[in-house]
């Protein structure tokens, strides 16, 4: 994947650049573009087609968000029909669609971001500014599977030794409580040993640094600068009101000298991920053909 070679800080900025306009603007152009960009990217990168359950769940979410708005919001000029004496308007349905697209596209981008930036990379980002927190999180991440494994081992052993005996609820609860209290003792014991091992390796000396295996290279700097430039332009156009959009009483889109430029820039941004991935693939196939 192309994104694996990019510094996590750049990826994080990219994620924000895509989602912030989609979240805060009312202009559906942003949402359609963000949604389309996410879907295209996922088609290119997901190893398997999405599970039927995921698609169903997303569709239900989409329809629910679309329906809720017109049920409670009766503004808008184009009345379609009446429900319980309230007008269901075309505009409020459109607004519902906009909300649904907004929620869905942000969700999809979150999923993409999660794939691009592992917890390890996120920690590396955090480590620079909050080294203590990053260390704490990393050691907790290590402890969780260890505790789970330990709990399973104890439970199996005790089951085998007949602690849960009769299988009655009271027996199971009492047994579970015993195992849990011993697990706490064990983890205190473990913590003492870990802290000794940390001290033995010089933890607590003054001036601890934080190391990251991710290098912020020249290409990352260029990408970062480009991103910041595009962001500034888009936010500028948004702030000038030339990207404003209103649904009530009728759908109206503001237009100005820079509206088209804003839309083009945002689309460029949103499709960059998919484009890079596609280009990367073609390139890779080409390289491979030469092997």
């Amino acid at each position: 994947m192309a994104y694996e070679r990019i510094h996590p800080a750049v990826l994080a900025l990219y994620f924000l650049s895509v989602t912030v306009p989609a979240m805060f603007s009312l202009n559906p152009v942003f949402h359609i573009a963000a949604f389309a960009g996410a879907v295209l990217f996922m088609i290119l990168t997901e190893p398997e087609p999405p599970k039927a359950r995921t698609v169903l769940w997303m569709s239900v979410l989409f329809i629910a968000v679309v329906i809720i708005n017109p049920l409670f919001n009766h503004r808008g000029q184009t009345e379609l029909f009446f429900l319980n004496g309230h007008a269901i308007t075309l505009e409020s349905i459109f607004y519902g669609v906009r909300n649904a697209l907004c929620v869905l596209s942000v969700l999809l981008w979150c999923r993409i971001f999660n794939r691009m930036v592992s917890s390890e990379k996120l920690l590396a980002l955090l480590g620079k500014h909050l080294p203590k927190t990053a260390l704490l999180i990393s050691s907790s991440l290590r402890l969780i599977p260890l505790l789970r494994h330990r709990a399973e081992e104890m439970r199996d052993t005790q089951k085998e030794l007949g602690l849960y005996g009769t299988g009655e609820v009271t027996d199971r609860l009492a047994g579970g409580a015993k195992v849990f209290s011993m697990l706490v003792t064990w983890s205190l014991d473990h913590a003492t040993a870990v802290s000794a091992s940390m001290k033995a390796r010089g933890y607590g000396l003054k001036g601890r640094t934080t190391y990251s295996i991710y290098r912020f290279g020249r290409r990352d700097a260029i990408r970062m600068a480009l991103l910041l430039g595009i962001d500034a332009a888009i936010l500028g156009v948004m702030a000038s009101g030339q990207m404003a959009f209103s649904f009530y009483p009728v759908l109206t889109m503001e237009r100005g000298a820079f509206t088209t430029a804003g839309i083009v820039l945002y689309c460029l941004l949103v499709f960059t991920a998919a484009f890079t991935e596609g280009k990367n693939r073609i390139q890779w196939n080409y390289y491979r053909s030469k092997i």
């Binding site: 917890s119 390890e120 920690l123 990393s138 050691s139 991440l141 290590r142 599977p145 260890l146 081992e153 104890m154 199996d156 052993t157 005790q158 089951k159 085998e160 030794l161 007949g162 602690l163 849960y164 005996g165 009769t166 299988g167 015993k178 195992v179 209290s181 011993m182 003792t185 064990w186 014991d189 473990h190 040993a193 870990v194 000794a196 091992s197 940390m198 001290k199 033995a200 390796r201 010089g202 933890y203 607590g204 000396l205 003054k206 001036g207 601890r208 640094t209 934080t210 190391y211 990251s212 295996i213």
Partner: protein, 556 residues
């Protein structure tokens, strides 16, 4: 030049009448390799911890500790932090971070190194230790041997001049332990690191050492050449001498003189001095096979629907009253087989029968009362109460024993295992060997007809092993069937009737222990390897000695 010096060191823990270390003096020369041995609880761990300032235990201390002539009290934190490396026994409790590369960077980060410096230090260590292929893995996914190598690599990123190692391989299987010792040997040879190692597996490290310290009751009793430790230990106690390499024990039994052979190769040289007209020792007839206690046929098992098969068409027969030992590499599925026998997991195909009755047919809890009981690899998992006595009482409760009878059962068990004074203590405060005995006591109170043991000798010293052997022989004599999963070939050779090798999800070889060991070249005892090709069927050191003496010396 002396790198580390200890003079008249006496140390007592608070609230303890007896000092843990008494008048200990020795010095480590730069580039030397020293082994500290002694029975469990002799004070060798305390000594190693006292030499690492950051984790030195709290207590009353007299005498002097010096590093490069500087007293520990005045030693700079940065110097002692980076130049004196320390590694403990448990691989898991020394790993701090989530991924391997973070763990390797942890120590250099503590020293405040710059990113570029850390990058080269980490790369160097990962390459030297052969960690590259698992550099990006989560530490959780590593095997025990890999974890301990990672811990060593992490200490080495500090570029220490002295390594203090406290029984670093006690929790590892023999193959991983061999890899670890090989790495220690390399660090010593190639980087000139000074090593002080507490260890009772002397078999592999004695040839590397240039000095051995023997500590008993907190005092140094022997401080000298590795070659002299054999005669010395035999003069002290039979139990400790059992921890010596097979070749050294053989040397002692034969009453040889001159330098003791330290390795298998040297041991082979030694027995060539004896004739080999009589090649085999007389074998008593195998015990008549009783009724089957465990009967596994065509068993298949996997963890989870999409997992891999751990048991593949496994078959195993164990007869009533015998002691069966099962060998096999780490992660080969031996422990899984035990869990299938005791009913914690169920096979998806095939049959498992206990004493002629399918495991499935036992009612809830019935199997745990008087049929099977298992001692897991980590004895700590057995305890759920605040004292050993409460845990034992819980076992009695499971068996439905109470009142006077319960007291009687507990007292009898404590007497049998010699654990009377442990009953009032918290299980986690016991030493490894004591924990093992206390856990075994709880398991035995369930009065099993079939006792399952998972690596019972892990981390035990020779004296404890000998004690455990005695206990198991008693239990077996009383009619209990025993199935032991172990890596410890010496242990199996001493007490098993039959043995099997577990490989690729099934028992590949199975037969009387003598046949299995004398046919195997690697998974066998050191005694077998010494005798291989020269004598026929001896599997223990005493058997070789017997043959040597029967044949007499070659006169030339």
């Amino acid at each position: 030049m002396e790198l580390l010096q200890v003079e008249n060191l006496t140390f007592s823990y608070p609230d303890s009448g007896k000092p843990a270390l008494r008048d200990v003096s020795f010095a480590l020369a730069e580039g030397s390799f020293t082994i500290v041995c002694g029975p469990s609880g002799c004070g060798k761990s305390t000594l190693l911890k006292l030499l690492k300032k950051e984790i030195a235990p709290y207590g009353e201390l007299h005498g002097a500790r010096r590093y490069q002539g500087v007293s520990y009290e005045e030693l700079e934190a940065r110097v002692s932090g980076s130049q004196i490396g320390y590694l403990a026994q448990d691989p898991d409790s020394q790993i701090v971070m989530d991924t391997v590369w973070q763990e390797l960077a942890f120590a250099p980060e503590n020293l405040g190194m710059k990113t570029e410096e850390i990058r080269s230090r980490v790369a160097e260590m990962a390459a030297y230790f052969g960690i590259e292929s698992w550099f990006h893995k989560k530490t959780e996914q590593l095997s025990g041997g890999q974890k301990q190598l990672l811990n060593l690599a992490s200490v080495m990123t500090l570029e220490p001049r002295v390594l203090l190692l406290d029984e670093p391989t006690a929790q590892l299987d023999p193959i991983a332990a061999g890899d670890f010792f090989a790495m220690i040997g390399r660090l010593h040879r190639e980087l000139g690191v000074t090593v002080l190692i507490a260890e009772h597996r002397l078999e592999e490290i004695l040839p590397m050492a240039d000095r051995v310290l023997f500590i008993e009751d907190g005092e140094i009793r022997y401080n000298g050449e590795p070659g002299g430790i054999g005669p010395f230990l035999r003069s002290v106690s039979e139990g400790m001498a059992a921890g010596l390499p097979a070749s050294v024990r053989l040397y002692g039994l034969l009453g040889e003189t001159g330098p003791a052979p330290l390795s298998v190769a040297e041991g082979r040289q030694m027995i060539k001095r004896y004739a080999n007209a009589i090649r085999d020792i007389a074998v008593t007839a195998d015990r008549a096979a009783g009724k089957p206690a465990v009967e596994i046929r065509e068993a298949w098992f996997r963890y989870g629907r999409n997992g891999q098969d751990v048991l593949r068409d496994a078959a195993l027969m164990i007869y009533e009253g015998e002691h069966y030992c099962l060998f096999g590499g780490n992660g080969s599925g031996k422990t899984t087989l035990l869990s299938v026998i005791c009913g914690v997991h169920k096979v998806y195909a095939g049959s498992v029968k206990l004493f002629g009755k399918p495991v499935k047919a036992f009612r809830d809890g019935e199997r745990n009362r008087g049929v099977t009981a298992m001692l897991p690899q980590d004895p700590k998992a057995v305890f759920v109460c605040d004292t050993v006595r409460e845990d034992w009482e819980l076992a009695c409760k499971t068996m439905g024993i109470s009142g006077q009878e319960r007291e009687k059962a507990i007292t009898a068990m404590a007497e049998r295992l010699g654990t009377g004074e442990l009953l009032a203590r918290h299980p986690y405060d016991l030493s490894g060997g004591e924990q093992q005995k206390a856990a075994l006591g709880k398991v035995l109170l369930l009065n099993p007809k079939l006792l399952l043991l998972d690596e019972p000798t892990k981390g035990l010293d020779a004296a404890y092993k000998a004690e455990l052997r005695g206990i198991l022989k008693d239990i077996q004599a009383a009619g209990t069937t025993i199935l032991t999963v172990t890596h410890d070939a010496e242990f199996a050779a001493e007490c098993a009737d039959r043995a099997g090798l577990f490989f690729d999800g099934a028992v590949a070889v199975s037969g009387p222990v003598r046949d299995v060991f004398s046919a195997n070249a690697f998974y066998t005892t050191a005694a077998c390897r010494i005798a291989r090709g020269y004598y026929g069927n001896p599997i223990t050191v005493s058997e070789i000695a017997e043959l040597c003496q029967k044949n007499g010396k070659v006169t030339s």
